[in-house]
Amino acid sequence: MRLPITAGVATAAVALSLYPLFDGWNWLWSALGAIVAVIAAATLTARAPVAAPFAPIAGVAGLLLYLTASFTAKHAFLVFVPTPSSLRALARIAAAGFQDIQRFAAPVPEKTGVVLIAAAGVGLIALLVDMCAVRLRRAALAGLPLLALFTVPAAVLPDAVPWPVFVFGAAGFIALLIADGRERLGQWGRPVLLHRTHRAERADSTPLGVAGKRIGFAAVGLSLAVPFLTPALEPSPLFGFGVGGSGPGGNTITIPNPIVGLRGTLTLPASATVLTYKSSDNKPRYLRMHSLDKFDGVNWTMTPADGRAEHRVADSDVPEPEGLSTQVPVTPVTTEVKVADQVPELRFLPLPYPPRRVRADGDWRADPRTLVVWSSRAEAGGMTYQVESLDVKPTAEQLRAVGRPPRDVQRRYSFTPEVSEEFRALTRRVVADAETPYEQAMALQRFFTGSGGFTYSLQVPEGHNASALEEFVMRSRTGYCEQFASAFALMARLLHIPSRVAVGYTGGSLAGGVFEVRTHDAHAWPELYFDGIGWLRFEPTPSGATGQGTASPPDHSLPVTPTGDATSSPTTPEDTASAAPATPGVPRGDNDPDARRGRDDRGDGLLGQDALQEEGLPVAAQVGLGLLAVLLVAALPIPFRLAVRQRRRLAGTVHAAWDELRDTLEDLGIAREPNESPRALARRLTEALGLDSDAADALRRLAEAEERLRYARAGIPQRVAPGDLPLVRAALLAAATRWRRARAFAAPASTLRRLRGLGTYLLDAFDRLDNIRIRPRRT
């Protein structure tokens, strides 16, 4: 009877790990009920000899009865007997549950359907565990369904599952293994003992259980500790957040890939109003919704948004914009946005970048990296909200002084797929005359909007994978914002400028004192990262009548840097002047072989191997750091040992000296017999190691002092001659081999033994906890 109960408990322990998925605890009671129903049904059936093979079927039936009674009692016959109508109701609830799961991100509100699915799922897992552990007697195999259950939160949640949850689940599984071991041992029969006590009615499995527990605890402890010691790699969730994700399904919110939906929006026959807004300075502003920061060669996608409760915009400011230093002049702007009623399923707020504070009703959360504000349950349709954002106006010096971005930013935003050498060469040619990252970005923008001869057209196939972008840039040069923005961002990455693609709306058009943003204003544009300034918008898409109507290049990408700073103004024309003449020749100007070679050389420097090596170094450094950490941990006994020796030296007592001598012997691997008195030990050492007479005398004095203290009457002085111990120690070390000496220093056996003793003590404490068991008193 013990095994089925343990199977249920183990399932319940692992099921606890689901808690971060739900917004409440009702699901747990339902799930526990399901476990009890399944285990009880299967166990009761197994008691009847004929019906034993049908135990799993009985488990399913028990689960069905339980679910019927809990969720569709009023459709059922006698509360729990399923009828066709109750089954249909159950299916309806489940379908609604699946829809809720699709709609909401974790934690999911506890609607009936969700609870039903949770209860049924946990019940089925319990059935599998029961089947493996109890019916088939393969307790280890039961770990698989338990693991499956455990992977659900691990896979769905962006954050790691808290470690106590893992410990709890693992403890459940270990308990199952131990119970199985006991049952197995118990089947060998009853031990023959003189005294028939209750305990003796089955084989004594306590030592086995203790050993099993020790191994189990050690395994769990190691599995918790080892990841801390090994070099950590960036954790990558198994499933994306949904945007451009790996297909439907999963317990995540799904929204259409924003960039893919652009053309559909732009080619709508009628352009509907999406939102209107007023800004404090009465200027139009791009409103960003999504930030696509990952490019895998096929799609620009979004890193799963990090929607922690602490980033709820109602409670706190939006996190600091990435990379923006305090030296950059900024102007705060307040924008009030009113979203049209009929806009469906708008879960990302259109906001000017960078937002600092958002006042919106509902549970909206900001992603700290991209500053995208989103919600898994509220919708923006019909909403009015206020945004305080910043107008970032970097000076020309600041733009020119931009250096290489920090490594972590570069790593995150720099992945580029394989592209052809021609494409790389073209990229190099485009920016041939640019000195700084900012000038390179400007050159790219000029390439797209002017010198490159690009044409805006919605009549092109969708898609922005690497080869399509090459085709777009190298040959067709016809496309719309999707291609422009993607290509710009990709080329920026080839130049090692961190980039991402923003999707949202252009600033719209002024109508009756407010800006009106319509569906045709849907847009994608590149954002480039500059160290010290942060993310800046660029506009490669042609604007006006032949392009995206309301698109406009940002101020900082205009030829005249919009700075009020008088001192910087002389540099601006010069900048522009130097850049301007070069512009016409850039794309096709490869007639001059010298110039080309020079450019190529520099280009290699920009795009070549050194940058790649830079990427490689951190991994080696990480491994090195990991090794260093392991070494540090391994070297911990050394200072411990030195401290102990110092403490004893300061104590100066006979016992301290003798303890130190014994530890030194242990460190040197000189065994000590249990029956050896101090005197005998001294005699043996003197003879075996051939100590000289001084050391032998010192050793004898130490031994006699210790002996006197142990066995003679009290009242003996407790000090020892200060020179004796060092003399003996030196003699012992000199008699040892070099390897022994090194080991005595690096891995002192005495200290290691103490540490092991500490571990054993802790394990024993666990064992004692385990031995506390409640037993009904027998009368």
Binding site: H655, N675, S677, R679, E707, R708, L709, Y711, A712, R713
Partner: protein
């Protein structure tokens, strides 16, 4: 402690450090006198028996521990010589009893005889009424006669015809015996063996010692030239001093551990008795005092474990089949039982 077996009989050879000279602490007091007197006796015996320093020292240890000594070995190795030398070195009444199969108990304890002049029964003390009693070839007597020694050995008194006579202190029985496999012997009963504090074996002398013995014994018996070097009163004072030697609680515990180990090991059918524990600790006191210490250390017990314990033990049939002698078992036990650490 090495166990030699030259002729199938275990011989106990004392460890080298038991041959260490008797040392004085140099602090003055009774221990100094003890060391002085003990050295004199030791030297006197040594002048008679060559190269048996360890046996002599053990004999002294037993004397100071108020115990009795059983010397067991093949004939002709100097058992009786040792007993007689000790008796001669101390100026005190010494009696020698030659045990034979027809010896009667009253031949040992004494008889009540009717005094015709006084018209009453008069007690004629037997040879046991002495400070040192040398029982030669004790296992040649019948068990009944051997048992007559029991009371006087343990209780230092003799009861004849309902009257109890106290024996004078110090009282020591030095018995010699041939190995029990020899012809014409009665094995000593366990109860009696238990009353002997220690059993030692003489062992054959070293060739050099034997050569010297030939030289010395060739002309005259050195025993005749041996003059007493101590009085019985002096020996009694030494015994008093030995009683004052300190035995730490840890050491007492260690003695019990050793004895308990003999009771628990499957190699022994009969373990050591509580009396053995008592004898062990007493002997250890004497051993410590002879080493010039006023406290007992584990080494004292370890050195004495075989002579004090082994003769009381009976090996199990498995040990007998494996030709394991109790001496070897004790050596192994001593190796296993940990010495007391600090209290």
């Amino acid at each position: 402690m090495a166990v030699g077996s030259q002729d199938g009989t275990p011989h106990l050879n004392a460890p080298a450090h038991l041959n260490a000279p008797i040392s004085a602490p140099g602090l003055g007091g009774p221990l100094d006198e003890l060391a002085d007197t003990a050295r004199r006796i030791h030297d006197a015996i040594e002048s008679v028996i060559e190269g048996k320093s360890a046996a002599v020292r053990l004999t002294l240890t037993v004397l100071l521990a108020e115990g009795h000594l059983l010397i067991e070995d093949v004939p002709g190795v100097g058992k009786t010589m040792l007993a007689k030398a000790l008796a001669r070195a101390i100026d005190c009444p010494v009696r020698r009893i030659q045990f034979t199969p027809d010896l009667l108990p009253s031949d040992i304890t004494g008889v009540s005889a009717y005094n015709q002049q006084l018209r009453e029964f008069e007690f004629k003390p037997g040879p046991v009424f002495a400070n040192i009693v040398v029982g030669d070839e004790i296992n040649r007597a019948s068990p009944k006669t051997q048992s007559a020694l029991l009371e006087c050995m343990e209780e230092h008194q003799v009861t004849v015809d309902g009257v109890t006579y106290e024996l004078e202190a110090p009282f020591m029985v030095i018995a010699t015996q041939n190995p029990i496999e020899m012809e014409g012997t009665y094995p000593l009963p366990e109860a009696q063996r238990d009353r002997f504090t220690a059993r030692i074996a003489m062992g054959y002398p070293e060739p050099a010692a034997e050569l010297e013995m030939l030289d010395v014994h060739g002309s005259s018996s050195p025993l005749d030239k041996l003059q007493p070097v101590a009085t019985s009163a002096e020996v009694y004072r030494l015994i008093e001093a030995v009683r004052g030697v300190y035995v730490a609680p840890g050491i007492r515990r260690y003695a019990i551990d050793l004895v308990t180990a003999t009771r628990q090991t499957p190699e022994l059918r009969l373990g050591a008795s509580p009396r053995a524990t008592l004898h062990l600790v007493r002997a250890a006191r004497a051993h410590a005092a002879l080493s010039g210490r006023d406290y007992v250390i584990p080494d004292d017990l370890q050195d004495l474990a075989v002579p004090v314990l082994a003769h009381r033990l009976l090996p199990s049939s498995e040990a007998q089949a494996g030709r394991r002698h109790p001496e070897q078992v004790v050596v192994d036990l001593v190796r296993r039982v940990p010495v007391p650490e600090r209290s």
